[in-house]
């Protein structure tokens, strides 16, 4: 038991994983270097494979890899089909089909150049790594633990999410039971005709459940400590959201970066304070709250460092630097040229970035299975009714 407890204590705070992943997601905006991007993707996959738990969402990384591959394929496909001409190295040419006037003079096909294709692949790779970073956070951070860390003001919403996550598997089971049972009645309708009755029975089951659940929650003191909603916070929060939106708008539409940034930060702070204040009406406590320790700070710091290095070094203006600094930092390598084509390079700062991507590995421990294999087997025998083996007729 002691052994088991140490292991859980060592699981990282879910928000730390998100901080690390968001750092990476922001960093990819500062580079199109395919070597760096591919290496970052590999490094993240390694971290995920070594540090994920055995929960269902831990398996999601596969889905994100597929999505990333799909994004690259789709972009290449569109580049070949309707790509704008650029560069001179024609790889092959498709027959050209001009579209009518209303279609903005677009033509399908035409010559496909190595320059355009390379630029597309670089761009797509960047998006793929961004998706992968989110996938990694998804696989590593336990959403249930993350829900325990939401601001108290969102307590009710988080309860609704917890309920939904717990009830969903039960509803699937009840739907399967109903399907099996209906065959006993000689009712073998399939497709849309079958959806109706099954949807009705799932829904009525769900509604019955919601009443017994509510009864249980009420009897166990739900919302007992809730005071009256605090007035005034809503105004503060709504104004803050508007301010933040204004900041976002300015960030996108003007070059007033500082003003926009200030507005965004003001908005975030305003909402944060408002939520904190609104949450004060509720004094529920948390069982075994996930502690935030130095490890968490270090993991988030590595994410922040990744973003800073890539954006700062990649954003340097080479002519303004001394030749030594240029040789050391090689800022241009973060955006390798595609026209003319040039081989991308891995530079010193990039190696630092890669080291930071895998930094969580030495800081954390593998997540062990929470249930020993033996009792898992026992469980399987105890719930002996998988439904796949029903006779289909």
């Amino acid at each position: 038991m002691a052994e088991e407890r140490t292991q859980t204590l060592r699981s990282l705070h879910p928000l730390a994983w998100w901080g690390w992943a968001i750092g990476i997601a922001i960093a990819v905006n500062g580079t199109t270097n395919p070597l760096l991007l591919t290496a970052m993707a590999l490094a993240m996959v390694i971290v995920v494979l070594l540090r994920r738990s055995d929960s269902p969402w831990a398996r999601s990384v596969r889905a994100y890899l597929l999505l990333a591959a799909f994004v690259i394929a789709m972009r290449v496909f569109f580049q070949i089909l309707i790509g704008a001409p650029s560069g001179t190295t024609v790889l092959f040419a498709l027959p050209q089909v001009p579209l009518p006037e209303w279609a903005a003079g677009i033509r399908l096909g035409g010559p496909v150049t190595a320059e355009a294709l390379t630029a597309t692949v670089y761009e797509a790779l960047r998006l793929a790594v961004l998706l992968l970073a989110i996938g990694a956070a998804n696989a590593l951070a336990n959403p249930r633990q993350a829900l325990r860390s939401v601001p108290a003001a969102l307590y009710e919403a988080s309860v609704a999410v917890v309920v939904a996550l717990s009830v969903a598997p039960q509803l699937i089971e009840s739907a399967q039971r109903v399907r099996r049972a209906r065959r006993l009645r000689g009712d073998t309708a399939r497709g849309l005709a079958a959806v109706g009755p099954i949807a009705l029975s799932i829904l009525s089951d769900a509604i019955d459940r919601s009443l017994s659940l509510a009864e249980g929650m009420e009897a166990r003191g739900f919302a007992r400590t809730a005071g009256r909603p605090i007035t005034g916070t809503l105004t503060v929060m709504l104004v803050s959201v508007l301010v933040a939106t204004m900041g976002g708008f300015l960030l996108l539409s003007t070059d007033a970066g500082w003003l926009a940034g200030a507005l965004l930060v003001a908005g975030v702070v305003g909402v944060g304070v408002g939520l904190r204040h609104a949450g004060a009406r509720l004094s529920v406590t948390r069982y075994r709250p996930q502690p935030w320790r130095s490890t968490e700070t270090l993991v988030v710091a590595s994410g922040v460092m990744i973003a800073i290095i890539v954006l700062a070094v990649g954003g340097l203006d080479p002519p303004a630097l001394s030749s030594q600094a240029n040789a050391l930092l090689q800022p241009t390598a973060f955006q390798p040229s595609t026209d003319p084509l040039a081989w991308p390079q891995l530079t010193g700062p990039m190696l630092v970035v890669l080291a930071l991507v895998v930094a969580p590995l030495p800081l954390t421990r593998p997540q062990h299975r929470q249930i020993p294999e033996a009792s898992r087997r026992e469980l399987r025998t105890r719930s002996p009714r998988p439904h796949a083996e029903l006779v289909r007729r």
Partner: protein, 271 residues
């Protein structure tokens, strides 16, 4: 029971709620339409741009959900919200991957209609959130999806009064309209993200909003029409087929949810 006798489930104070929903509408419009005002001088790439609002929108959602739930949502409504979100969570993976055959939205529409706009909004946002955890759909688009689905449920609760067959047709029509609106807004905000730069149909920050819109429409017709149409037809068909019994079921339980003790007389005097 006629639809008019059922009051919406209690969520937030009506006036306060409508203010926050108006703000949500304004912020949502800005967030979804960012490609119209992205300026090349800002130095933001079209990949980073949607991320800016992917950070603003969660704040908006947090504020609106706080307002919807804070202290006024009683435990039965909350349990109903959680359980219906579970139903949506079960339905979403069933339908993912099959072109446009999405089963989530018709439930949002019927629940929004039966239980009111505030409930519809909360259900839309929460359903999309939980189902994304299950189908590995978490990404920068998630806050956009939550907001858009919230609005699908919200407007369903604001449709004009109608009864019987008329109501079902009204909802089916709304199902088609909302399916396209949802699809277009989501596609528009992630169009630069999806196709990338350097094609003739790409988003071009330097071009006029009108040109970009034109390119988007073409791109969308070519790539997403099937999905949007599929979603619209699925919505309409399911509502026409199941609308009447499901609405009856939801309304019947709305009565159970709203039951309150009619009178608890004072205790008898002690002897």
């Amino acid at each position: 029971m006629s639809s008019t006798t059922v009051q919406p489930l209690q969520t937030a104070h009506p006036a306060r709620l409508s203010i926050s929903l108006i703000v949500a509408l304004v912020v949502g419009t800005v967030a979804f339409c960012w490609p119209l005002f992205l300026n090349p001088s800002s130095g933001l790439s079209p990949i980073l741009a949607p991320l800016v609002f992917a950070l603003v929108l969660p704040m908006l959602l947090a504020v609106v959900l706080t307002e919807l739930s804070s202290g006024r949502m009683d435990v039965k409504t909350l349990a109903m919200l959680g359980v219906l979100a579970a139903v949506g969570t079960v339905l979403r993976p069933l339908s993912a991957g099959t072109a446009g055959f999405e089963l989530v939205f018709f439930l949002l529409i019927l629940a929004g209609r039966a239980y009111g706009a505030g409930f519809g909004f909360a259900l839309g946002a929460i359903t999309l959130f939980t189902s994304s955890l299950i189908v590995s759909g978490v990404g920068p688009w998630l806050p956009y999806q939550m907001l858009a689905a919230g609005f699908v449920g919200l407007f369903a609760g604001m449709l004009p009064k109608a009864d019987g067959r008329v109501e079902v047709w009204l909802l089916a029509g709304y199902g088609m309209v909302s399916a396209f609106a949802y699809g277009w807004f989501m596609d528009f905000s992630f169009w630069p993200f999806a196709i990338g730069e350097g094609t003739q149909l790409s988003f071009d920050p330097a071009a006029t909003p009108w040109q970009n819109l034109h390119h988007f429409v073409l791109f969308n017709l070519a790539t997403s029409m099937g999905w949007n149409l599929g979603r619209a037809v699925t919505n309409a068909l399911l509502i026409l087929m199941l609308g009447t019994p499901l609405l009856r079921l939801l309304r019947r339980s709305a009565r159970a949810v709203k039951l309150r003790p009619t009178a608890i007389p004072a205790p008898p005097p002690a002897e």
